[in-house]
Symmetry: C2
Subunit: 428 residues, 2 copies
């Protein structure tokens, strides 16, 4: 257990944050030179401990769930909070999966030999200390720690107060496994206070913390962005579009749209808005509306949409700017590819956008001009995901342009240094 | 000429910054899809205009130099400010050199095919809008603009007031060449006011400006870092070390040390501190002190150094933390490689550090544990430079860990997006 981490009095929060970060920095220096085998040993030991301690973990979680019920939290929130035997097994398997991923630290990912014989290499190294702030789901405690530590970073975790007992039980186990694997126990520290002031103190420590990652609702992300003095890796809303081009295979378009909207509507890569070229709107919209109606999707459309689909409600400008995260779809008929791209650039959130087309030049123009983290041709928006893109695992989907964009896996949690091998070269 | 850019009244600075950034954003959208040929055409046209307008450029520069003399600026500062025919030719050749570099935008730098047939590619795209803040040297106006625009970014330039007329003349010429090359003229905008308040207004525009790059003294960089709401690419001090290991070839060590200290002492990758293993100190220090004395280098050493080199002044802790940028060298005798690494991590600035050794395990340990942007084996610290590392050109040497570390060339001024090619895939 992190014996140094006692919940501090509010007056001591600044000092608490400082000392926690200092311990993390020390741990990060050791972790940066740990071998992949040691880190994988930690991951598999942690998985074993989760299976071994399942009854105690469920008991801790039960305390959180009972408190949440007493506090009147919604059934949906309590479901997110709840751990079950199956969910714990999933978390353990997630740890084992991360252990199978290639070691990121030390990889030489670029090199060149200079005319004077110098061998210039770029070597992947950890970022250092990561401050991870998240909301209710306790599995994030383990997911975030596994990716941060595997990429050689020390992590300071600050979870939601609803999951306090669950997070503590999981973090204690991760720390115990760090010790067993011969790694610094301060590589994973759970912030013990749920005092919201504490976050602000950590966000001031520019020299001690290399990166802040907020994961949660817009209010949390905006607060962290506003207060942080270090870089922040954000993931904001996904207002994701499917554009059905004049040349689209309409059966393919329908499958892609229905998958994007209905397969899991509550996530950031779900489709929120449909744009249809006027040449195919008459054929496509009535047919797809029928399918969506059967799946209980509410449509909100422009005038031309409503002429073709009378049950659609009128769409306002706000609709085109809204991430519904629900079975609602905004629809607009456009005159051209150009209008579709302009609409996406104006109303979208630069997250994930798809064109369905059989026209090569339209596909090229769409992928060149749509400035989103992921731009897809003839595939569902739901694919913008670290696992689906082959990253192995992800810590979030960045909507930033700096450092990392789109799904962030192990590589995106690293920096690099130049390591240069000479034989006595001097500069003339 | 940028007719929209009139020096505003201080009360209008916020509005001025906003409108300038908005124009830059528009230009960036067009520039992002410009071809390499267009951008290279702009670079060669700009070079031609510099040669053609040399008399007018020298005249504008003369006004700056006269004003600087009247204001009592030092001869060194005035020398940095001064343009000559030869320097302008150098600037023109720099533009032509950037034109020869490979096109960074659109490069697919990673890809993988997923089991379901999706082709996932990562494509280099511009960052967007860059705010570049610099001090006296007018050539930076051209260098910065050339790299930003070649990498597809719009740039807002804010130079020092001493170079006001020179910067204006150079920027007008760059803008004229943008128009001639069919590129948006707002891709390069020079901030017309030298009111220091203006910088603060630009630094608030998180949604309009994607990156701020301060280039100059520590005070400027610290101000920009403190006020910026967008990412900042910093380059702080270089407190660069040469560590002479017990197994070093002492002739090689002397060459590397003298080159690092004396070849150009005023730059960030100059050597500032020498660490010598005790086993070779007795042989190495008296010999190298003789060489350095002949080159007028002042030595400041620890007790053991002074026992071997009596003319060395005593070094304080502050000496070991100082970037002299002058013919001064701090010296310390250490008991082990471990002590050398600890010293570098404690007193260095994570910029550039060299080990001179013939011991493979010492080289490996040094490169693994020294956490600097560039770690060299048997080569001068002076090599940490974009040109020397093969980047073609550089906009600075980042001391950050996030996004870009070490020399920053065209690639480091880009972001990426995922472009995914499917044939109707949906997620199950």
């Amino acid at each position: 257990m992190n014996v140094g981490l006692q919940a501090p009095a509010p007056a001591d929060l600044a000092d608490y944050a400082w000392k926690t970060a200092l311990r993390a920095r020390q741990a990060a220096r050791q972790l940066a030179v740990a071998t992949g085998a040691q880190k994988n040993d930690w991951l598999t030991r942690s998985a074993a401990l989760i299976r071994q301690r399942t009854p105690a973990l469920l008991e801790a979680n039960e305390r959180d769930c009972t408190a949440a019920q007493a506090a009147g939290l919604s059934a949906a929130l309590i479901d997110r909070l709840r751990l079950t035997e199956a969910r714990l097994e999933g978390i353990a398997q997630g740890l084992e999966q991360v252990a199978t991923l290639p070691e990121p630290v030390g990889e030489i990912f670029a090199s060149n030999v200079r005319p004077n014989g110098l061998l210039v290499t770029r070597v992947r190294v950890p970022l250092g200390v990561i401050f991870f702030i998240y909301e209710s789901r306790p599995n994030v405690t383990v997911d975030a720690a596994s990716l941060c530590v595997k990429s050689g970073n020390a992590v300071i975790l600050r979870g939601g107060k609803e999951a306090k007992a669950s997070n503590r039980a999981l973090a204690d186990l991760l720390v115990e496994a760090l010790g067993d694997a011969g790694l610094p126990r301060d590589a994973v520290q759970l912030v013990d206070t749920t005092d919201r002031e504490a976050i602000g103190h950590f966000l001031k420590l520019r020299d001690q913390i290399d990166l802040a990652i907020p994961r949660g609702g817009r209010a949390l992300i905006e607060r962290v962005t506003a207060e942080a003095t270090m870089p922040v890796l954000k993931h904001f809303d996904g207002i994701c579009h499917v554009y059905v081009d004049a040349s689209a295979d309409l059966k393919m378009a329908e499958d892609i749209l229905v998958n994007g909207k209905c397969q899991r509507p509550g996530v950031c890569n779900a489709t929120e808005s449909l744009l249809v070229h006027r040449d195919v709107a008459g054929k496509f919209l009535p047919q797809v509306a029928k399918t969506l109606r059967a799946k209980k999707v509410e449509l909100r459309g422009c005038e031309r949409t409503r002429a073709l689909v009378p049950e659609a409600r009128p769409a306002t400008e706000d609709d085109y700017r809204t991430e519904y995260l629900d079975l609602i779809l905004s629809v607009k008929v456009v005159d051209s590819l150009d209008e579709a791209i302009e609409h996406i650039e104006t109303f979208g959130s630069h997250h994930t956008d798809t064109i369905v087309t059989n026209d090569l030049s339209a596909a090229n123009e769409f992928t060149a001009r749509v400035d989103s983290a992921a731009v897809l041709v003839n595939a569902s928006t739901r694919f913008n995901d670290g696992g689906e893109f082959g990253l192995g695992a992800e810590i979030g989907i960045s909507t930033d342009r700096f450092h990392a964009r789109g799904p962030c896996g192990l590589q995106e949690l690293t920096s690099y240094k130049y390591v240069v091998h000479g034989s006595g070269q001097i500069r003339s």
